[in-house]
Symmetry: C2
C-alpha cells in the first residue's frame, strides 16, 4: 500500500504502524498510531479482522476522523465477522470516526494522488478526469482495470466493501457538489436505504448522470450476494421502478459500466434521440440500427441539404446509415470520402447524435484518422461515439487512445458505442424532466 | 488481391486479366481470360459492374466453374444494378458457372491459403483451424478482424454479399461433410429459402453447431437491410421460431458471433447446464450468476467431497461461486490457492462446466498462469471458459493468446465468457434431441 501511494505520487505524510517492525521502506514504523507525533487525517487499516476494533478505537483516540478498513473477515465471512463488524460500527457511532469498508480496496483520488489498494497497481498515475467509479467489489479498483491503457479520465474511485458505515448515499451526497466530478458510475449489490438513496439521487441527477450496474437480477445471484458483501438485496423489480423514478440509469453489463461514462466526459448532451450513422461497412450499419432502437434512439431522416452534400460525394450514400463501404472499395485512402460524409451528417439539424464506424489496420492510419476527427471536432459540437475495427489490435488500441486524447469516446463493442449515445439521450431527457439548466 | 494471395501463401497458379496492362507484379497480364493457356478453376472478378456480365460470360466460355464477384453496384445499388444482377444470374443458369456475390469480399480457406479480399489484410496467414465465419457483410472478412492477434482457428470464411447464386444453404450443405469444420458461425441479413435452410440445417446440426447472428430485429433495421444487400427480410419472430425448431442457435451481438464459436473448438460439450464458478473477485462471481441464469445455465450445488477439498484450502471458499478473492488478499502468489480450487470444482460430478475469472497484470504472471491451466487441462476434460482482468491490456492479451494456444477459450467480455458455456450447453441439449452420437 505504501509503495502504491509513493508510486502514485501521493504528497502527504505517511506513517506506517506495525508493532513488529521499527522501520519499513526507510520510514520509521510505529507500534501504535497514538505514538505518532503529528495530527493524522485518515487511517488505512489492513490488520487481521479480530484486532480491527482495537485499532479503530486507537485511531479514534488519536483524533483521526476517517478510516478505510481493507481487512476482510467481517459480515461477509461468518458469525464472528458479523459480530466484529457490529463492534466497529458501535465504535464509529460512539467516537464519530467514519469508516469505509471493511472488506474493501478503498479509494482513489486523482486530485491528491491518493490510492489505498494493497494490490499491485502497475502504473504511477491514473489520468485525472471527471469520472467516478464506485463499486461494491474489488473489480472496480485501481488494481483491476487497465485505466492507464484506456487513459480513462478518473476523478475518484471508491470500493464500498461491506458498507458498514459510509455507503452510496454518503458518496452521492459528497459528489453532488464535487466540482471535479461530471459523471457517476456505480456498481451496487444492494442499497442500504432506498428512500434516502432516491432523495439524494434526485438532487444529484439534474447536474450529473448517475449510472448504476445492479447485479442480482435473479434469485441465485441475490442469494450469492449475501455471502459476498453480507448484504440483503431486495426485489429486482423494486429497484427498477425506483431507479426509473429517480432518474438513475441502469446499465446491464460490467463493460457498459466501464465504457459508457466516457460519453459524458467529452461529449455534449444530445438535444434529442435521432441518430445519424456513418459506417465503412454496411453490415455494421444494420447492427447499429438494431442496437439503437433497443437503446431508445431513432434513426434520423437526413434533411434535403445533407442528402445533396452526400450525393456530391456519391449518389450511392444518400441515406442513413451512410455506408461509405459502398464507395470505398477502389480507393486507397478513404478519408477524402469519409470526412465530408461525417461532416454532412454532423451538420444536419435532424440529427442529434452520430455513431461512426471506422476501419484502421496500419499504424500510419492512426495520425491521419486522428487529424480528421480533430478537424471535425473543431467544427462541430454534436455528440458522437466511435467504433474501430480492423486487423490489428495494437492499431485499434493506439487509435482509441489518440481519439480519447482529443476528446472522442471510442468503444470496443459496437453495441456499447450505440448504447452510450442512447444513455446520453436518455439522460438529456431525464434532465429536462427536472427542468434543469443546460450543462455548460 | 494478388498481393494478398501471395502473402497468404496461396500455392496455385494466378493469372491476372486486364486489357490495359501487359504485366503486373512481374506476371503476364492477359487482356481476356480466354487467352490464358491453362485450365482455370475459379475467377475473382472486380471490374466495374456494367462489364461484369461480359466477364462472367467469358469465364463460362473458358470452362471456369466458379466466380467470386467482388464488384458492387448491383441489386444493393439501383435499378440498373438490379438488372445487371439478373443478367449474371441468367448467365449462371445457362452456363452452369456458380457465383459468389456480387458485392462481396469473397472467401478465405486456410487449407489451401486462398484469400480473395482486395483490401489490406495485414498478415501472411490466418491460423488454420475449425471455425467457419460466413457473413453477409465485409466486417466478417479477413481485412476486418484481428484474427492473427486473437489466433482464431479458422477453417473457412465466406462473405455471401448479394447472394445472387451461392447462399447460406449451399454453404451449409458443403460444410456438412467438410472434415475441417467443427463449428459454423453465420451473420445473415436474410435467408433466401427458409424451408430449404431449415432442412439443410437439421442435417448439419447433429454434427456441428450452427450459430447465427441475424440483424433486423426491428422495422428500421429491416428496411435498411434492403438497401445494404438488396434483400427482403421477413418477420423477426418467424426467424426466431424457425431457428428454434431447426436447432440453430441465435446470438445477439457481433462480439458474440466472433467469440462464442471458440468454445466449440477446444472444449468438450458439457453434459448438462450446471455451472461451477471460480473467481478472484466476488463481484464478478455475482455478475456471472446473472449472466449464467440468463444464458440457460444453473448454478451448481457443490458436492460434499468438493466442499471438503475447498475447506482444506480455506473454510471461507466452500460455496459456488468459489471466491478466491476472499483468501487472496495477503498472499503474494495466488496460484497455490487458485489451482486446487479450480481442480476441486472441475472434478465435481455435480458440475458440468466451469467459468474462471483470473487476474493478471504483469508479464511474469503469463507463463505461471498458462502452466497452471496446462496442468489442469491435462487432468480434466470438462468445458471451461476464462475471463481475464487486470491493469494491463498487453498482459491480458498475451495471456489470452497463450491460453488459446493450449486450447482454452478466453473472453474480453465477462458476459460472453458465460454465454459461451450457455450456448455450448444448449447445443449439447439440441444434439441429444437429435439422438446424435457423442462427438469425438
Amino acid at each position: 500500500m505504501i509503495k502504491n501511494l509513493i508510486n502514485f505520487g501521493f504528497a502527504g505524510r505517511i506513517y506506517p504502524i506495525n508493532p513488529s517492525y521499527s522501520e519499513t521502506l526507510g520510514m520509521t514504523a510505529y507500534p501504535d498510531v497514538r505514538q505518532v507525533n503529528d495530527s493524522i487525517d485518515m487511517a488505512i487499516v489492513i490488520t487481521p479482522s479480530p484486532i480491527v476494533p482495537k485499532v479503530i478505537k486507537e485511531c479514534a483516540q488519536k483524533g483521526i476522523k476517517a478510516a478505510i478498513i481493507i481487512s476482510d473477515g467481517f459480515a461477509e465471512a461468518d458469525e464472528e465477522g458479523m459480530r466484529l463488524q457490529k463492534e466497529i460500527v458501535e465504535i464509529s457511532h460512539q467516537t464519530g470516526i467514519r469508516l469505509i469498508g471493511p472488506n474493501t480496496i478503498g479509494v482513489v483520488d486523482t486530485a491528491n494522488n491518493l490510492v489505498t489498494t494493497p494490490y499491485f497497481t502497475g502504473y504511477s498515475k491514473i489520468r485525472e478526469g471527471t469520472i467516478v467509479y464506485a463499486a461494491q467489489t474489488g473489480i472496480a479498483g485501481a488494481q483491476a482495470l487497465p485505466l492507464e491503457d484506456y487513459a480513462y479520465p478518473i476523478s475518484k474511485m471508491c470500493d464500498f466493501g461491506n458498507k458498514c458505515d459510509i455507503n452510496e448515499v454518503d458518496l452521492l451526497e459528497y459528489l453532488a457538489t464535487d466540482s471535479e466530478t461530471k459523471v457517476i458510475a456505480m456498481h451496487l449489490e444492494d442499497i442500504k436505504d432506498g428512500r434516502q438513496f432516491l432523495n439524494v439521487a434526485r438532487k444529484v441527477i439534474p447536474n450529473k448522470p448517475v449510472l448504476v450496474l445492479k447485479p442480482g437480477r435473479n434469485e441465485a445471484s441475490t442469494n450469492a450476494m449475501s455471502s459476498h458483501t453480507g448484504s440483503l438485496a431486495g426485489d429486482d423489480k423494486v429497484y427498477n421502478g425506483a431507479f426509473k423514478q429517480a432518474g438513475v440509469i441502469r446499465l446491464d453489463t460490467w463493460r457498459e459500466l466501464l465504457e459508457i461514462p466516457r460519453v459524458f466526459v467529452s461529449q455534449p448532451l444530445p438535444s434529442g434521440n435521432r441518430l445519424g450513422i456513418v459506417t465503412m461497412t454496411g453490415g455494421a450499419g444494420i447492427m447499429i440500427i438494431d442496437a439503437a432502437v433497443e437503446s431508445g434512439l431513432t434513426i434520423a431522416q437526413l434533411s434535403p441539404p445533407t442528402i445533396d452534400k452526400l450525393a456530391d460525394i456519391s449518389p450511392r450514400i444518400v441515406s442513413n446509415p451512410v455506408d461509405i463501404g459502398q464507395v470505398w472499395t477502389l480507393i486507397n485512402s478513404y478519408i477524402p470520402t469519409l470526412e465530408p460524409a461525417i461532416a454532412a451528417v454532423l451538420a444536419d439539424k435532424s440529427v442529434d447524435c452520430v455513431a461512426i464506424v471506422v476501419w484502421a489496420s496500419t499504424m500510419p492510419q492512426v495520425p491521419e484518422i486522428t487529424e480528421m476527427f480533430y478537424r471535425l471536432k473543431q467544427q462541430f459540437s454534436k455528440p458522437m461515439t466511435i467504433w474501430i475495427y480492423g486487423t490489428n489490435l495494437a492499431v485499434a488500441e493506439e487509435l482509441s487512445r489518440e481519439l480519447e486524447a482529443i476528446g472522442l469516446p471510442t468503444y470496443s463493442n459496437l453495441e456499447t458505442a450505440i448504447k452510450a449515445l442512447g444513455v446520453a439521450a436518455k439522460y438529456a431527457q431525464i434532465r429536462s424532466r427536472f427542468n434543469a439548466e443546460p450543462i455548460t
